[in-house]
Symmetry: C2
Subunit: 225 residues, 2 copies
């Protein structure tokens, strides 16, 4: 409260992205091998620097867009990581963000162009600098978010089966759920709408496809999973 700018030092600010996807019944994130020093060759999150003319949130949105070609992703700040020597080269403070994407929306060519792979969150190798810490915190926050808001749909196609939805909850929380209890629960949520469409890709009989109705949710945003 009695300071002024001049006598203090400035730092570089970066953003790092934990991008969650759900595929093959598993929760995954995008990581790649660093292509520059410091840390060349180490597994790492995708990130970028904050520019002088953009907010930190905007820098994260831009970085996500560069990477995925997608805008308006569901994205939340994980927090600031600011150890003095977290970057071996310079003083860089990083703000981590997590985002949820439907892996089918994500162009696989673009993924490969960036040299990224989808890695099961339970099998994340050692990552560059403090990135493992970021992933851990992002997972906890995402889990918490999923338990209190219907954000799971961001990880699924717009039409999904109840089995897919259940597997998603199981993967995120690392638990097995009872099918009947889960479906009972879903029936209580008016914003999860059954369609007349049937998906036959995963069973002979076929399963009804459901969709998330945002309008219904906004009218009565009570949620309890």
């Amino acid at each position: 409260m009695n300071t002024f700018y001049g006598e203090h030092s400035k730092v570089w600010l970066s953003v790092d992205c934990i991008i969650f996807g759900f595929d093959e019944g598993k929760l995954k994130i995008l990581i790649g091998k660093r292509k520059m020093d410091p840390g060349r060759g180490e597994w790492s999150l995708y990130g970028g620097f904050v520019r002088s003319d953009e907010s930190v949130d905007d820098a994260a949105s831009r970085t996500l867009f560069e990477l995925t070609g997608l805008r308006n992703l569901f994205m939340r700040q994980v927090g600031a990581f600011g150890n003095v020597d977290r970057d071996p080269g310079e003083r860089v403070v990083s703000i981590a963000y997590y985002a949820l994407i439907n892996v089918r929306d994500y162009d696989d060519i673009l993924r490969r162009a960036h040299g990224l792979v989808w890695m099961d969150v339970n099998e994340i190798p050692q990552l560059y600098s403090d990135h493992n810490e970021m992933v851990l915190k992002a997972r906890k926050m995402m889990q918490q978010k999923l338990a209190t808001e219907p954000v799971g749909f961001r990880l699924l196609p717009s039409l999904f089966t109840l089995t897919q939805l259940q597997k998603l909850y199981e993967a995120v929380n690392g638990v097995e759920l009872d099918k009947r209890n889960f479906r009972k629960h879903v029936k209580e949520m008016d914003f999860i709408e059954k369609t007349e469409l049937i998906d036959k890709t995963s069973s002979k009989r076929g399963a009804y496809l459901y969709r998330f109705n945002k309008r219904v949710y906004n009218e009565d945003p009570t949620f309890k999973m």
Copy 2:
């Protein structure tokens, strides 16, 4: 992933502190009128700049120590606030932290020396820049924390009555609780220990004083309020 430092711009980094205290049955935070430009005279949180030789967390600890004379306060990061024009003077990104203190531990002389006052969280005036937003987020996070971890003791003297503890939960969550149900709940928690001491400051009959037993909690850290 394909950037390097040089071409990017640096920013000033500050920390801002939301310091929660519990007094007169109310949840309060410390705020003061800014003593420098920009924003001179506006109500504001207490903050400081991050130095080049300290982590962001350390900067927050140091700032809290400067202000309160206390170390090892319970402190959590609220998040980074990084709008381009959030500081009217320069590009300053701020990392907000909240801390919990027992108002009796805090030297009132020191408080006045810093020109700060305890303000009821429900009566916070308009604050400088994005500080209201920080307070709001800190409150939510603190509420969530209190619901899942026994951190309320940080806001109370080491010996406290059950009525004090109940009032604390009521103030933080903005609800009234049933006395019998609350006490039933507390009895389940072995780490809240009854002493033989009696506090007579708030009733003629006197009320038993309790204490938080950290060791017992660490042995069985289950908690549900």
